[in-house]
């Protein structure tokens, strides 16, 4: 009679597939996972304490570094929260520019996330290059608008820091022409690949009945079959004027999370098309005139009280809880990070699978350590 013994293996923190400095202590029996314990904190940078000693606008560049892949989305979250707290109006043109940036971020994040997922499965660098190619084109657009590729710091309270330059729109049109072909090509890479389907179907299932109790949000929740999207649930900016669908999955496994992300890219493309049509007719300028001066941004004193502002980033629901004591610095600055909370069911999703599946499941949740550890 063969006897087996449980073994504790350490994955990370220095590991090419853990999406940053993330450590997992797995207890295995052979190659099957019995238990999984994640260890956080390798990228803890005191973001919330920095928020308490900085003024509201000084926190804006720090939010770029939360989810460092999607800096525009993080900026959006802080702007929504502070504008709610202080009662600042955002003009129509600024809102449309913000939505444009947020949806381009969604396309770039999902392209990269799917590409990295396939990379984690061992398909090495070729599919990664497919996703990164589109990402580079969108990063060029960001550089044109804000001056930086990744750490954009583009949003301000009341709008965005500057209007789109004249060369932005022609390049955006070029990008939009090439995107549908890219989506179809990318999806064909997934749907017609037997190895990929074998490795992702039935792996890492998060059942629909449990998904909400685990507090997951974003594509992971939608892949499990629950149609919850902050853009539809509590519309912010101009999302209630735009027409788009929220794709949901059926099984909640890794394969569903792939397909959800591809479909969300298509919906973002639809939104960007509508924004491009409406942008020439919008009014109001790129920022609320009373907040246009950087001195006004620095001197912002929201009335005492609290507010919770949330946005739908590509990873899930990003929320900022701010408590103001009437001064220029927040009394409490809390970031509700989607990647952190989406890791709650990781242990339960991985139980019973092999070690190689852990990497795939982790990739399908799509985490960024900057957000997990803050």
């Amino acid at each position: 009679m063969l006897k087996t013994q449980e073994l504790q293996i350490n994955i990370g923190p220095q590991h090419p597939s853990t999406h940053g400095v993330f450590r997992l202590i797995v207890t295995v029996d052979g190659e099957t996972i019995i238990d999984l314990k994640p260890v956080f904190g390798y990228l803890h940078r005191n973001h919330e304490q920095l928020g308490e000693v900085s003024t509201y606008i000084q926190s804006m560049p720090f939010t770029d570094r939360l989810d460092y892949f999607n800096s525009m989305a993080n900026n959006f979250g802080l702007s929504i929260a502070v504008e709610k707290l202080a009662g600042i109006e955002v003009p129509q043109r600024a809102n449309y520019i913000r939505v444009l940036m947020a949806e381009l971020t969604r396309i770039l994040n999902h392209a990269t996330a799917v590409a990295f997922m396939i990379n984690d499965m061992g398909a090495w660098q070729t599919p990664l290059a497919y996703g990164m190619r589109e990402r580079e084109k969108i990063l060029d657009l960001f550089e044109m608008a804000s001056g930086a590729r990744m750490m954009c710091n583009y949003f301000r309270f009341g709008g965005v820091v500057r209007d789109l330059p004249p060369e932005f729109m022609p390049q955006l049109h070029d990008l939009m022409r090439g995107l549908p072909t890219f989506f179809d090509e990318f999806e064909r890479l997934l749907r017609e690949n037997e190895i990929l389907m074998l490795r992702s179907e039935g792996v890492g299932i998060l059942p629909k009945e449990l998904a909400a109790s685990y507090s997951v949000t974003g594509p992971v929740l939608r892949a499990s079959g629950i149609a919850y999207d902050v853009r539809k649930a509590e519309p912010y900016s101009v999302y209630d004027e735009l027409d788009f669908d929220v794709p949901i999955g059926s099984v909640g496994d890794v394969y569903d999370r792939f397909l959800i992300r591809i479909e969300e890219m298509r919906q973002s493309y639809k939104i960007v098309q509508q924004v491009i049509e409406r942008l020439p007719d919008t009014t109001g300028g790129h920022i609320n005139p009373s907040m246009a001066n950087i001195g006004k941004q620095k001197a912002l004193r929201p009335p005492a009280g609290d507010a919770y502002g949330r946005v739908e980033t590509p990873k899930g629901e990003l929320g900022f809880y701010l408590v103001s004591d009437g001064s220029t610095r927040p009394y409490r600055y809390k970031v509700r990070a989607p990647s952190f909370i989406n890791l709650t069911p990781l242990g339960d999703m991985c139980r019973g699978h092999k070690v190689a599946d852990v990497v795939v499941i982790l990739g399908s949740i799509d985490i960024v350590m900057g957000e997990v550890d803050r």
Binding site: F40, G41, Q49, S213, P303, G305, Y308, T344
Partner: protein, 190 residues
């Protein structure tokens, strides 16, 4: 889309869970609760002589006794239908000697969030854990424990999440020394 005002929530809590709501404080409420219609101009400098101490604890949200949190959480999930705990935040009010925990729930059909607050004294911060029946609170309660020192009896694995296990102190508390930290001094000596 389901939406519940704080008045309606408080009425339902009084009716269905008697004794859960904390007794009311005898002080004025903020105009700016949850960002609703602030009356002050955010760019105005406070005038000399008008700067009084700000009452940070005044709020319109429902404040619940700490020991009733599991009952209230079950009520919010099963009766009111808010099944997703989206945020669990701790705030340290040093001047008033309380730590406030805000539980924020969301209804899957949409609508604004529902906030339930509870306050515990700083030197005895104990709130029963809701993780046994609400697994989504697991990491969030661990973060409140790690950063603020709030104890959650009933939590299956209440260990630190960001700091290392042997770390002493609770970093986000307002009286945690920001400089001259004993770990920094040890590094300089080594």
């Amino acid at each position: 889309m389901p939406s519940m005002s704080t008045e309606e929530l408080k009425e339902r809590l009084i009716r269905d869970l008697p004794g859960a709501l904390a007794p009311a404080r005898a002080r004025a409420e903020h105009a700016n609760n949850g960002g609703s219609a602030p009356k002050a101009d955010p760019l105005a400098k406070p005038k000399k002589g008008e700067e009084g101490p700000v009452d940070l604890l005044a709020t319109k949200d429902a404040i619940v006794l700490a020991e009733r949190i599991p009952d209230v959480a079950r009520y919010v999930r099963d009766t009111l239908g808010y099944t997703l705990l989206t945020d669990l935040t701790a705030v340290d009010y040093l001047a008033d000697g309380v730590i406030e925990l805000i539980y924020r729930f969301v209804h899957l059909e949409g609508g604004p969030t529902l906030a339930i607050k509870t306050r515990v004294p700083r030197d005895r911060a104990v709130v029963p854990s809701i993780t046994p029946f609400w697994p989504g609170a697991d990491l969030q309660e661990r973060e409140a424990f790690d950063m603020y020192g709030v104890d959650f009896p009933g939590h299956p694995n209440l260990v630190r999440v960001y700091m290392w296990d042997e770390f002493e102190g609770f970093p986000m508390r307002k009286d945690f020394p920001k400089q001259g930290d004993k770990y920094i001094d040890e590094e300089d000596e080594a």
